[in-house]
Amino acid sequence: MNGERRIGMLHLAGAVAMTIFCLGPIVYMALTAMSHRPDFLAPGAGFAFTAAHFLEVLRTESLHFPEYFRNSLVVSGFSAAFSVSVAAPAAYAVTRLAIPGRVAVLFAVLAVSMFPQVSLVSYLFKLMSAMGWINTYAALVLPYTAWILPLSLWILTSYFSRVPRDIDRAALVDGCGPLEALWKVIVPVAAPGIFSTALLAFIFAFNELLFALMLTTDHRARTIPAGIALFEGLHGETPWGAVMAAATLTVVPVVALTLVFQRRIIQGLTRGAVKE
């Protein structure tokens, strides 16, 4: 029994260490954002609270932070919605319809998710330039939709395959077409799964950097990750208070989503990757 107790203590110590490891950098970020000076750890400096950095980030027009934020929400929202709407019928076909080559489709799509982004980006840049779409939402939404499709298809396939077949077979017998069966029967039953998929797709799009850097040149369509990556102070030196305030504001929506939908996210992530 003593051994079990020792393991219990080890677990407790491990859990504390894990929490500090995961939250430490986030807390440090938030503290720097709220600190009067960034060197509050230095001897004799001390921590004094201020909201000035947040106000600076939100009010300084040349920083364009509110625009980046709006762009990020629009681009990720549309990308997630498109990707799930395109992946849902495909997932239905893969799980329900007897079509040759469906396994090949799944694996081809999996292979896509292994491609390095840098091997697409120059062509996408030329394509979007030719279309005159640089600095528009379309230049980001289309590649993002494609980029998060593999994830969406795999997770949806896993959710759809768990919906009992008898339900939609009954609908088909009643004279529904496959599209109607998908829309009226499977979508309502698998709604939580579809929501989880859309949530993950949104987070992936929200965090993307390389396409955003290459396919935007100014604040009209630039998203937050690119904005933060290119954040520079007016005087050359990094204004850490403002950068961390921008970082903190960025993290708020993703962290809120993560905390509220923790179960769904974990389920979605593992459905996509691990066949139980």
């Binding site: 677990h11 965090n207 954040f231 139980e276």
Partner: protein, 294 residues
């Protein structure tokens, strides 16, 4: 009649997949093929495009900058992926144990995963700040070093910072995968082992580890591919420095593109693509092979 109907069903089935295939063709497959073709051309801004065959690849072979970035990328994978797997497995074991704080702990672990790499890159840049960053505060407080460490100004320090940043962000993802694997192990096995008086170490080595093998292969595959194509963290945290010593292959290709050399950047991207592709095929083969044996 019957054949006609099955043909129509087939057509309808494919029409469900068609939008997905069309989008992937237009925005993934065609771009990749386009990049492969571009890599055979001299394509520099303001100069006429000219076919030069494998010329770009020949230049790559004798380019010290490319060799440096290839070396960095391989070292980065070798350093970060094993750490992420070990730490991820430890986290999963902690998260799997029933406790009143389990939900809160899981939420905690998800946070680094959800934070954009551009943000965590900036946070780690501040942590590594020479004058007042958290890292130097800690190493001096604990007494590991006499003076402050120049993390981002030295090759070793910058490499270490990148590995730390990547492990922080992705060990949680690995933990979530392992957690699903752990939950799939039937409790009966452990109960049986307890009856047989197997200790905790034996239970872990004889039951947990072997049954986690498929998840391990998946995690290894995902993490290796992701680490190979690392871009965000490097771009933000070190910008490839100091002296180009932490330039990943993705960043090297990106720098060629933004420098206006599309042919050369494409050649770099194709090399990275081939490495990633070969590895993923190899892993899938190995994973299958293991499953057939057991």
């Amino acid at each position: 009649m019957g054949e006609d109907r099955s043909f129509r069903d087939l057509l309808r089935g494919y029409s469900f997949i068609a939008p997905l295939v069309a989008i992937l063709l237009a925005f993934v497959f065609v771009p990749v093929v386009g990049t492969c073709i571009d890599s055979l051309y001299r394509e520099v801004t303001f100069l006429p495009r000219a076919f030069i065959g494998l010329g770009n690849y020949q230049s790559l072979a004798s380019d010290p900058g490319f060799r440096q970035s290839l070396r960095f990328t391989v070292l980065f994978v070798l350093a970060s992926v094993p750490l992420e797997l070990v730490l991820g497995l430890s986290f999963a074991l902690l998260l799997h144990r029933p406790s009143p704080a389990r939900g809160a702990l899981r939420a905690c672990v998800l946070i680094p995963w959800a934070v954009p790499a551009a943000v965590s890159g900036k946070v780690f840049e501040l942590i590594c700040n020479f004058q007042y960053g958290l890292a130097n505060y800690l190493v001096q407080r604990i007494g590991l070093t006499d003076g402050p460490v120049n993390w981002l100004g030295s090759t070793g320090g910058a490499f270490f910072a990148l590995v730390a940043g990547d492990v922080w962000k992705t060990a949680p993802f690995v933990a979530i995968l392992f957690l699903a694997g752990l939950s799939a192990i039937p409790e009966d096995l452990y109960r049986q082992a307890a009856v047989d008086r197997a200790g905790p170490v034996q239970r872990f080595a004889r039951i947990t580890l072997p049954l986690l093998r498929p998840v391990f292969v998946v995690a290894l595959l995902f993490r290796t591919i992701d680490a190979l194509r690392v871009f965000d963290l490097v771009f933000v945290l070190t910008r490839g420095g100091p002296g180009g010593s932490t330039t990943s292959l993705s960043l090297y290709g990106y720098d060629a593109f933004t420098g206006g050399d599309f042919g050369y950047g494409s050649a770099v991207s194709v090399v990275l693509f081939l490495i990633a592709f070969t590895l993923s095929v190899a892993y899938v083969r190995i994973g299958r092979f293991g499953r057939e044996l057991s």
